[in-house]
Amino acid sequence: MEAQFLMFLALAAVALAASVMVITRRNLVHSALYLIVTFFAVAAIYVLLHAEFLGVVQLLVYAGGIMVLFLFVILLVERPGTGPAGKPMRWHAAASGVLTLLVAAILGAHFLRSGMAPPGGTAVLGASGGNLETVSLALFRNYLLPFEVVSVLLLVALVGAIVLARPRA
């Protein structure tokens, strides 16, 4: 149990440091690469929390799919000559910081007020046949309709993306 906590601390530090790097880098490709590091750390935390299937899906969809898309668009859109964007105006930065702190404070207060669940058991998550089987059974027995809705959503998004990105004839 102690090992789990130490690993969580290390992964959390990596995830947080990388996510700060994402929003502070001037170079978009660097931001994207740090974002991949964040996704990796988060996937490892999923595995730590007995969500092996989700961890793999996180890598497959985020790292393998979404980030490639991001990098592709960055390579298409960012021209070598354009240079980094100008520094944010000072009041803008200050206002952003204050707003973020406000959001964080409200959310944190809400977290603290909500009843704390005890550290969890693992029996239900990986019962008979492992996490993959448990998740898929839940998905196709109890959540079939949401599943179908999400697949339609993805189809619509696909069609919409193609229509938007295709050049006007």
């Binding site: 690469l33 991949i36 793999v56 890598l59 497959l60 490639v68 993959l132 089987e133």
Partner: protein, 362 residues
């Protein structure tokens, strides 16, 4: 305590060391084999100066690469440029963590040793996820080189690898449905209990799946006829144009390790992994699955290595044969093939397999 140490540290580390050493050795001779087969198909002799019939040629090449000056061009993005070869080779190696190389087991003290590093229940998905990360190495190399040809190679590779991942995944889905598990060991065992490999699974043999998987695998590994990211006669060398010495060797190594990986996966998913080749003749399985019965489990493991190696070799030979035979695809042809032919074929294949399973269950 010492048993825990043996089980969780000594044995896995030894397994990893053996796998990596074996991989390096295989890659060295795969390169030689490629040159020899190419030479044979072009009625040449191929390398034969270094060692007997050129057996040490690749060793000499490796020494040359090691001792070459390691140049980092001035106009590159240093950090990303240096990381790219590492990022491309790590997923290739990490994928071997779940490959079952053979059956059988032997004991060291009280700890049983199997011929795989780990057997996880999301193994197949892990493989799909980890192999999809190789594309970042290519994109990073292409972008950080800050030069035209690597950039074009990187862009092409990103599009190509993302496109062919879909048919790759679809051909694997039918295997998942047949085996009922995503563990690679479980997949081989399912083929054992089915009595035949998934390639010959009745009533719907997985030949189309094998075709889709293999061709997509060739595209994923950027080999001819799909080697557009490094097409040398249009892009110099594609994404690794600016790399030299050991950094270049890493790209080279990763490409061949990925080829071996596709070979291993084809063997596990479609050819029954370490199971012997019996052509369905009853009574042949027992003697063929253990050549050294007097060694017990270790003998079964060695025999499994032989069968597994044979199947992987066949796939790799096909790779080299294709390289010597086919011209390169054009970029738009490649994309059309991926999106308009392979993905519909893959979807149809999944549906037919599902129907076949229903029919079989009655």
């Amino acid at each position: 305590m010492s048993e825990t140490l043996l089980r969780f540290v000594v044995v896995p580390v030894a397994q990893i060391a053996v796998v990596i050493a074996a991989l390096l050795l295989i890659v060295v001779y795969l390169v030689l084999l490629e040159r020899k087969i190419n030479a044979f198909m072009q009625v040449r002799l191929g390398p034969r100066r270094v060692g007997w019939h050129g057996l040490l040629q690749t060793v000499a090449d490796v020494i040359k690469l090691f001792t070459k000056e390691d140049i980092t061009p001035r106009h590159v993005d240093r950090l990303v440029f240096l990381l790219a070869p590492v990022v491309i080779i790590l997923p290739a190696l990490a994928a071997f963590a779940v490959i079952p190389f053979s059956g059988g087991s032997f004991r060291v003290g009280s700890v049983g040793v199997r011929a795989w590093i780990s057997d996880v229940n999301v193994g197949l998905l892990y493989l799909l996820a980890i192999t999809s990360l190789g594309v970042f190495g290519v994109v990073m190399a292409g972008w950080s080189s800050n030069s035209k040809y690597p950039m074009l190679g990187g862009l092409r590779s990103a599009a190509q690898m993302v496109s062919y991942e879909v048919p790759l995944g679809l051909s694997v889905v039918s295997i998942l449905m047949l085996a009922g598990t995503a563990s690679l060991v479980g997949i081989v065992q399912a083929q054992e209990s089915a009595g035949r490999w998934f390639l010959f699974w009745t009533p719907y043999p997985q030949i189309l799946g094998l075709f889709l998987y293999f061709v997509s695998g060739v595209a994923e590994t950027n080999r001819l006829p799909f080697d557009l990211p490094e097409a040398e006669n249009e892009l110099v060398a594609g994404f690794h144009t600016e790399y030299s010495g050991m950094k270049f060797a890493f790209f080279f190594l990763a490409e061949y390790i990925n080829m071996v990986l596709v070979g291993c996966l084809v063997a596990v998913l479609f050819f029954g992994g370490w199971l012997p080749v019996t052509f369905g003749i009853p009574g042949l399985r027992e003697p063929l699955s253990n050549f050294f019965p007097f060694w017990g489990g270790a003998g079964a493991m060695l025999t499994g290595f032989f069968w597994f190696g044979l199947k992987v070799f066949l796939v790799l030979f096909l790779y080299l044969w294709m390289r010597a035979t086919y011209p390169r695809y054009r970029y738009d042809q490649l994309m059309r093939l991926g999106w308009k032919v392979f993905i519909p074929l893959g979807l149809g294949h999944v549906m037919v397999t599902a129907l076949a399973i229903l029919v079989r269950r009655g």
